[in-house]
């Protein structure tokens, strides 16, 4: 529970930066415009301890999925490095696995469930050939799929069951870290609860470490130990989930948390944060959030806020202390209507 298993240091990822020599020459001569570069993830660092759950939250275009893909090794970072410490000295073939949002497009429609689950352990010789079938059945059972359906195809299952197949497939290679990218977002409420429970159970059984990516703050609040809030590629706040939800420090985090509809918020008048999420191609200068921030000062328009330690957590806001001196300063606080 103590040693960090995952270490992400100053990781950035840019898209669209490579252009060939002719394009660069023409751009230099002013004949064509240089290709736009999107910085999807901008200088993100964190460590994650074994057996913990990191929740990554943010809205579309904030880079949370790109970060997840880099952690899972599906995408190389442009800068920085991601290291995994397999503390027990036991080498595993595939220590990181990813669960995708859409169980419809992430399962091969031409393969039977049995083949989907056993392919990786067979190729990587994680299990002896003769034991494969028993191994697959045991995994399926663990993930709540009846082993008797092992010969069916993915389209014969409901969304929730498909998600379980995806989980079983990921677990088949004995990973240590699971990156779940919006893994429960597409599911119905009652199925979502079943899925969350499954994730919680599996963590206890296999000692897994999760990176849970979601735009659904309710789910993240429920499952995460630490949360990382991203906005346009940058981390704006990181800290223990309980603290962050109880007392968000960054104005964006506060806006997110206040904006979440809750069962106990009845007949409220929503006074939401203004404006749209800017395009990541051309993010605002200084603090990315300043055009939407009710507290923005001239400084915020010019200077990029450094990530600072404030009361036990990391915040990237020039005004974090000032804002938090006021107890209820929020301009978008939900208030009961008459």
């Amino acid at each position: 529970m103590s040693s960090p298993i995952l270490k992400v240091s100053n990781v950035s990822r840019r898209f669209g930066e490579k252009s060939d020599i002719i394009a660069r020459l023409l751009a230099r001569l002013g004949l064509i415009r240089p290709k736009p570069v999107v910085t999807a993830v901008d200088d993100v660092s964190f460590t994650l301890e074994r057996g913990r759950v990191l929740g990554v939250v943010g809205e579309s275009g904030c880079g949370k999925s790109t970060l997840g893909r880099m952690i899972a090794g599906l995408l190389p970072p442009s800068e920085g490095e991601i290291t995994l410490d397999q503390g027990d000295g036991q080498h595993r073939a595939m220590p990181m696995q990813m669960i995708f949002q859409d169980p419809f497009s992430s399962l091969n429609p031409r393969k039977r469930v049995r083949e989907l689950v056993c392919e990786a352990p067979r190729v990587h010789r994680i299990v002896e050939h003769g034991e494969l079938q028993a191994y697959v059945e045991q995994l399926m059972e663990r993930c709540g799929i009846d082993p008797s359906v092992r010969d069916r195809y993915a389209h014969q299952f409901s969304g929730g069951q498909r998600q379980r197949i995806g989980i079983a497939r990921a677990l088949a290679v004995e990973p240590e870290v699971l990156v779940a990218d919006e893994a429960v977002s597409a599911l119905d409420v009652s199925v979502q609860a079943q899925s969350i429970n499954l994730f919680l159970d599996l963590r206890d059984v296999f000692g897994l470490t999760y990176v849970f990516i979601s735009h659904d703050l309710g789910v993240i609040e429920h499952i995460a130990d630490t949360i990382l809030v991203m906005y346009l590629g940058r981390v704006v706040e990181r800290g223990p989930a309980e603290d962050v939800f109880a007392r968000p420090m960054h104005p964006y985090t506060r806006a997110l948390i206040d904006g979440v509809p809750r069962l106990d918020r009845r007949r409220v008048t929503y006074e939401p944060i203004k404006g749209d999420i800017p395009s990541p191609i051309d993010p605002p200068p200084g603090c990315h959030f300043h055009p939407r921030c009710p507290f923005a000062q001239p400084q915020c328009r010019e200077e990029r806020p450094e990530t600072r330690q404030v009361e036990g957590r990391l915040v990237a806001c020039h005004l974090a202390e000032d804002i938090n001196q006021h107890k209820e300063p929020s301009a978008w606080q939900v208030t009961p209507s008459a």
Binding site: S190, A193, L200, G218, D225, E242, L256, V260, D264, P272
Partner: protein
Amino acid sequence: MTASSISIPAVLDIENLNTSFMLPGGELKVLRDVSFSVARGEILGLVGESGSGKSITGFSINGLLSPPGRVVSGSIRLNGEEIIGLPPAAMRKLRGAKIAMVFQDPMMTLNPVLKIRVQMSDALRAHKRLGRSDVRSRSIAALEEVGIPSPEDRLDAYPHQLSGGMRQRVAIAIAMLHEPDLIIMDEPTTALDVTIQGQILALVQRLCRERGTALIWITHDLAVVAGIADRLMVMYAGRIVEEGPVDTVLDTPAHPYTRGLIDSVPTRGMRGQRLKQIPGRMPALVDLPEGCAFQPRCPSATDACKTPPIYQAFLQGHSVRCRHPISEVPLREASG
């Protein structure tokens, strides 16, 4: 049914609506005996999971069902006038003018090859004879109303040039053009980000309150409607299983399914604990269990549930379709 007990006249009154899909293999009943009403200025939250029939309810009201789906029996009255069986031309006159609909994905409902201006003028001219300058000024006013910055410029934009939130605003502006009596919103914020969802909720709430428009907000997310709805209606497998004032339904749900749904939502103070889950999943409509459709998943099911339960008034304004409605058991203490 409930219209008579409310002093405000009902904009929409539905009685025993049955909608089916006529498939080669037989009739698939997707809505069974759906009855409810919506009053002027009222926001009704219609909640259900995939396949519960919530969207089909919206389509049935709006006359947008396409074969093989059709309304088999029942009555839908808009401002007291029956609209089932209206000829298509008459229905077209109502649609957009009296009843409007907003869908989940504005990218699917806005025409990608037409400028916003054209789409708005089409919608305006479908029901009113208006001159060019009138159309323009009304379009601009409508866009302004939904909070679109620099509406003059946006008129010449194509849908793909707008963000998701902006597109949904345009869709709402178009739905509001003729100040309809009833708007049906089918998961209008499901595809949107949290902060944008908040904006849309605020907008819709304001517009409906200002104009007294009746609103049916269809969603799978109880929390979204908890904030804006006056009344909640829960559907399961084609039937309404519970209906009542939002506080009553959420604080003292009478139907075990509603209770299950509420318990499934992660709440504060339950961090890291297992959520209470409803076992199993919604049955397929082709293969509904006998009697109560929820009975195989229900913790309080008995043999009596093998015969269909009737829809009965439980308390004032609170109706439930259950043989064993939960009563006076405080929430979160009954077994899940």
